[in-house]
Symmetry: C2
Subunit: 83 residues, 2 copies
């Protein structure tokens, strides 16, 4: 079976997010009001071939833990959709 893994890797809440601060400043300079608390991370889309959804989930967990997320500073969430 083929699945689309849609993964978000975000800085953990305790970590300062300078990119987020820069975006908020940029939006203010463009006179786009109303935004607060901006957090920026990675969005990763990957296709995965696996026997079933549970197997695909464990492979994506493995990939996130070993490569895609730095677990000291980042947390990850993902969704799997059959394609």
């Amino acid at each position: 079976m083929k699945f689309l893994a849609s993964i978000d890797v975000m800085p953990i809440k305790e970590i300062l997010d300078p990119q987020g601060k820069a975006v908020l400043l940029g939006l203010k300079n463009l006179d786009i009001q109303g935004f607060s608390d901006c957090r920026i991370g990675k969005h990763i889309n990957m296709e995965i071939e696996a026997a079933d959804k549970a197997t695909a989930e464990s492979i994506v967990e493995d990939a996130c833990k070993k490569l895609l997320a730095n677990l000291i500073m980042e947390e990850y969430t993902f969704e799997l959709t059959a394609i």
Copy 2:
């Protein structure tokens, strides 16, 4: 009303994604099999104060077009959730 804007900014399909290629190679080196077609972009979470959902949507569209996405090479999608 307060909303959480969850924005994904991804490279358009026609554009080569060297980051994605590097991740696929890294996963292979870690002997994590089954992945293909990796695309990497930005995931942005922001809070937005607006009168109603339609107003919040138009403000987020404006922010994406003017700052968050480079429309020549990137496309964006977003979801708004009331908080």
